[in-house]
């Protein structure tokens, strides 16, 4: 273990691929996660907007038919 702890520093040329790999892994995880989330959120928001419109239409139809029923007949 002491050998591991005191291993000499890698030259910048040799260390660069490791550093770049670590940062690329991090950025890739974040980007993939955000892309998946964005796609799901967009589709949910689209669904939500459609459903809201349908509920409003249905409420408007219900309100007008109730008003018609309340009108005196004859």
């Amino acid at each position: 273990m002491i050998v591991l702890a005191t291993s000499p520093a890698l030259a910048p040329g040799k260390a660069a691929p490791y550093v770049i790999a670590a940062y690329i892994v991090f950025l890739a995880i974040v980007l993939i996660y955000v892309a998946i989330m964005a796609k799901r959120l967009r589709s949910t928001e689209r669904d939500l907007a459609t459903l809201k419109r349908e509920v409003e239409q249905r409420d408007a139809i219900d309100a007008s038919s109730e008003a018609r029923e309340r009108e005196p007949v004859g």
Binding site: M1, I2, L4, A5, S7, A9, L10, A11, P12, A15, A16, Y18, V19, A21, A22, Y23, V25, F26, I29, V30, Y33, V34, M37, R40, L41, T44, E45, D47, L48, L51, K52, E54, V55, R58
Partner: protein, 242 residues
């Protein structure tokens, strides 16, 4: 606009700004480490990822207490998202640590290093959270059991951390201590900017996920109102209250 999407844009901008600043400081301001050289730059990514991951697990436990106290399943959903995000950060931390270990020690993994193994144990413990949760069909029981698990496992995190700190085999670099650590000023500044950037990223992704879950909940409610109870599919793998 939902409760969770409030301030999301500002938080996202703050996250992008702080992470950009952190990257600039890492590569153009922080000096090269005398012992490890250029490969030490991984420290500014690996350590904040691990710290935020562990804090996220504890946060999940604290939010689960909110669920057991109030019975409101929104707290369970918050706890679920906190643990879910912490797992992702933990995986990032373990991969970046492994790359650093390979460059610095010549091995991808060292089994007799207490910090590495204890972090893996915590990660594996929380990896069982989702299978446990979704193996229970009844939503109320699912939320309750998941909360109990989150609190117990969340309490294990600081205990585990203290136990490792008390261990004698200090092979893993000890750079941060309660006394401020032994980092030079420029490295400390870079580290704390990175930590803030990644903490903001955690908060942004948490809010983002909560906004999505909230939107899905609203969709289900509206669909139920329009088409009746039977038209809405069972929740399946979702922590969102129905």
């Amino acid at each position: 606009m939902t409760t969770y999407s409030k301030g999301l844009r500002a938080l996202t901008l703050a996250t992008i700004g702080s992470i950009t600043l952190a990257l600039a400081l890492v590569f153009f301001y922080a000096p090269l480490d005398a012992d490890q050289g250029f490969v030490q730059k991984i420290f500014y990514l690996h350590v904040p990822l691990a710290i935020i991951s562990l804090c996220g697990f504890v946060l999940g436990g604290l939010l689960a207490i909110g669920h057991l106290r109030t019975g409101d399943r929104v707290w369970d959903m918050r706890s679920y998202v906190a643990i879910h995000m912490a797992l992702i950060f933990g995986i990032g931390g373990i991969i970046s640590g492994s790359i650093w270990a390979k460059a610095s020690w010549g091995h991808w993994w060292v089994w007799n290093e207490p910090t590495l193994v204890s972090f893996l144990i915590v990660l594996l413990l929380f990896a069982t959270y989702q299978p446990l949760r979704f193996s229970i069909e009844d939503p109320e029981r699912q939320a309750r059991y998941a909360s109990v698990f989150a609190i117990t496992a969340g309490a294990f995190v600081p205990l585990n951390f203290i136990a490792v700190r008390l261990a004698q085999q200090f092979v893993h670099p000890r750079i941060l201590t309660l006394g401020g650590g032994n980092l030079p000023g420029s490295m400390r500044l870079t580290f704390f900017v990175s930590l803030i950037g990644l903490a903001l990223l955690y908060a942004t992704l948490w809010k983002y996920e909560m906004t999505a879950k909230n939107a899905r909940m609203q969709t289900r409610r509206l669909r139920r109102r329009l088409m009746g109870e039977d038209a809405v599919r069972p929740l399946g793998r979702s922590a969102a209250p129905s």
